[in-house]
């Protein structure tokens, strides 16, 4: 059997809110295989964002393991973590684009970080922006783009380094429902046609139903898993 793309074993995270310890995750076990499309559904405070940060190697667990392609994240040093993050595509709720860079500049950024040369960077960025439907908006800065367009740029950026999987934190949470539908269509297409593995957080059930699998969280634990 193939190694799962993501696997967690007894994952716990406790952080201090002032002087009060908060158990954000209390023993989460799940795995995601290649080509999967999983949504994590849950109210705010259920621990889904914390879980996403762990899987994305942005934060370290208090206890338990996160295995990405079979590698235990906690054994990696700072540099290795940076290398690992390059193989993960992040899409954030608030886009997190660099305001002073154009759409193309933003997509080129992870490629520049990976050390790809200029000409290749440009070609790849143009190709990705075209595939998310922003062929004519490449030289616009984020402030000149609509919310939906910004999220498309963010998706193109997440795909730049051909990641193992995409992590999406409420990708439609900050855009209107019509645009959200288009974005979801794009995400589904990525999964179905290009075989990109996707893990997406949402608290919108309708959106969650578009995925192959739903995992429901409450108070830091998985309460239900549904295959669609």
């Amino acid at each position: 059997m193939a190694t799962p793309v993501v696997k967690t074993v007894g994952l716990k995270k406790t952080y201090m809110l002032g002087k009060v310890p908060v158990n954000a995750l209390c023993g989460v076990n799940f795995k995601v295989d290649q080509g999967d499309f999983l949504t994590i559904l849950g109210p705010s405070g259920s621990g889904k964002s914390t879980l996403l940060n762990m899987i994305g190697a942005l934060d370290k667990p208090t206890q338990g393991q996160v295995l990405i392609n079979g590698v235990d994240v906690s054994t990696l040093n700072d540099n290795q973590l940076a290398d690992l993050r390059r193989s993960i595509g992040f899409v954030f709720q608030f886009f997190n684009l660099i305001p002073r860079l154009s759409a193309r500049g933003n997509v080129e950024l992870p490629l520049a970080i990976a050390g790809v040369n200029k000409a290749e960077r440009r070609k790849r960025a143009e190709q990705l922006l075209t595939s998310v439907g922003l062929k004519d908006r490449m030289n616009h800065k984020p402030a000149e783009l609509s919310g939906g367009e910004r999220q498309r740029v963010a998706i193109a950026r997440a795909l730049a380094n051909s990641p193992n999987f995409l992590l999406m934190d409420e990708p439609t949470g900050n855009i209107d429902s019509k645009t959200a539908k288009e974005i979801i269509g794009l995400i589904k297409k990525l999964n179905q046609e290009d075989g990109v593995t996707i893990i997406m957080i949402t608290h919108d059930e309708k959106l969650a139903n578009q995925a192959k699998r739903i995992m429901m969280m409450l108070d830091g634990a998985i309460v239900k898993e549904v295959d669609l």
Partner: protein, 430 residues
């Protein structure tokens, strides 16, 4: 991440905050400009002084002055020699002339006097010398431009060019054939008493240029030594100038020692080489001092950079979080911040060197354009020198390097803090 990409990213970040980056750069510009201007002027001044000294100061002469105040007592007659009541007499030349390798020597007896000619008056030194010996020693500078220098004991006065024409504009105080009165205030008696001495101007020297310590000068009046003795009522002289048969170091050392022994170590003997060495070491100290003052402004600029970078770090916390989430290594984040400092430092240093050089030239023009002579009113001591600022490659490269190094040093802490930000916390930062 490639170095070129790091720099272009840093450059983009600087361009976004033009005013802020401009003001930060200005700090460096001012600091570097101050250093360059001060050093260029001071080195120019040193070159001028050294050149002029060398042109008028024969290397085969020694200066003997009373007292053991060290080398400085040989200068100007006013520096050292305190504490000893030993006096050098005009007739001591006969002792010196007997020493091997001494060709000849002349006493110098000088006092500050007022020269009156008609309704004009000039304050300057009146120097008694042995005209014959002096013109032999300084055959190229103690030369009459007009009139004739007489070697007879009852000869008249020889005027330096700047005493004759102090304002360099044709307002002649006295020239050949004029009779002038020299007034000296004898302060050794109570109440002080004015002594007046009438003399004819025999000759006016050709313009010499240069600063003089013992060699002929444009701004003094020479009278025969015997008349000076009578006029000033003393046989004590200020210095004796000794001409040697050779200018090699061995001869200078041997004669120096012989003279010191002859006077029971009560005199100090200086050579031109020693004086030039002193001047050079004095200038090194002055330059260090000036550079130190200028460096303070650079320090302030450095603190400004640090301050701005810490503020910028706060503003860019989220950006750093994004970069790290996209897989940027901590050392690349560090490199971006350091690159920003390098760009600011290099730009500031280049502009600073330019501005400093400009300031040095402006200052030199003001300085040279009669600035000093005009300020002193009476043209007594002005010897009309021109300063050409000097910018050595060492100063140039040093200033550029210093500007960059200062900005980088002060950027290290903010850059380090930026690189240590945890991605998850940085992303959460509002």
């Amino acid at each position: 991440m490639k170095v070129g990409d790091v720099f272009s990213y840093a450059f983009g970040a600087i361009r976004l905050r033009k005013l802020r980056a401009g003001l930060t750069t200005l700090g460096i510009v001012i600091g570097i400009a101050a250093i360059v201007a001060l050093l260029a002027i001071s080195q120019g001044l040193q070159v001028t002084i050294t050149d002029q000294l060398q042109s008028g100061f024969a290397t085969d002469t020694l200066v003997v002055s009373p007292g053991r105040g060290g080398e400085f007592s040989g200068l100007g007659g006013g520096f050292g020699g305190g504490g000893s009541d030993f006096s050098l007499l005009v007739t001591d030349t006969s002792i010196i002339n007997q020493i091997d390798d001494v060709v000849t020597s002349t006493p110098i007896l000088q006092k500050l006097c007022i020269i009156q000619s008609g309704d004009q008056a000039v304050t300057t030194y009146v120097v008694g010398v042995d005209f014959e010996v002096y013109s032999e020693m300084y055959s190229s500078t103690f030369v009459a431009g007009s009139g004739e220098i007489s070697f007879s004991p009852d000869a008249g006065a020889v005027f330096g060019q700047r005493v004759s024409d102090p304002y360099q504009n044709g307002t002649i105080v006295a020239t050949v054939g004029d009779a002038v009165e020299i007034v000296w205030t004898n302060t050794t008696v109570r109440p002080p008493e004015n002594v007046t001495y009438s003399v004819a101007v025999d000759a006016v020297l050709e313009e010499i240029g240069g600063l003089s310590i013992v060699s002929p000068s444009d701004s003094v009046v020479y009278i025969p030594i015997s008349q000076a003795q009578t006029f000033f009522g003393t046989d004590e002289c200020d210095r004796i100038i000794v001409q040697l048969s050779s200018e090699d170091a061995e001869t200078i050392d041997a004669v120096t020692q012989a003279i010191e022994e002859a006077f029971g170590d009560q005199v100090s003997v200086s050579s031109s080489t020693a004086i030039l060495n002193i001047i050079s070491s004095v200038f090194s100290t002055i330059e260090l001092f000036l550079a130190g003052i200028a460096a303070i402004s650079l320090l302030v600029a450095g603190i400004g950079i640090m301050n701005i970078m810490i503020v910028s770090l706060m503003e860019r916390t989220r950006e750093i979080g994004i970069l790290k989430a996209l897989g940027m290594k901590s050392r690349s984040v560090l490199a971006i911040f350091i690159s920003e400092a390098i760009i600011v430092g290099l730009l500031g240093a280049v502009l600073g060197v330019g501005l400093g050089w400009l300031l040095a030239n402006v200052a030199a023009t003001v300085f040279t354009g009669g600035g000093i002579a005009a300020a002193t009113g009476q043209a007594a001591a002005s010897s009309g020198f021109a300063i050409t600022p000097v910018l050595t490659p060492t100063v140039l490269l040093g200033a550029l390097g210093f500007g960059v190094v200062v900005s980088v040093i002060f950027a290290i802490y903010p850059a380090w803090r930026a690189s240590k930000l945890k991605p998850v916390e940085a992303l959460r930062y509002e």
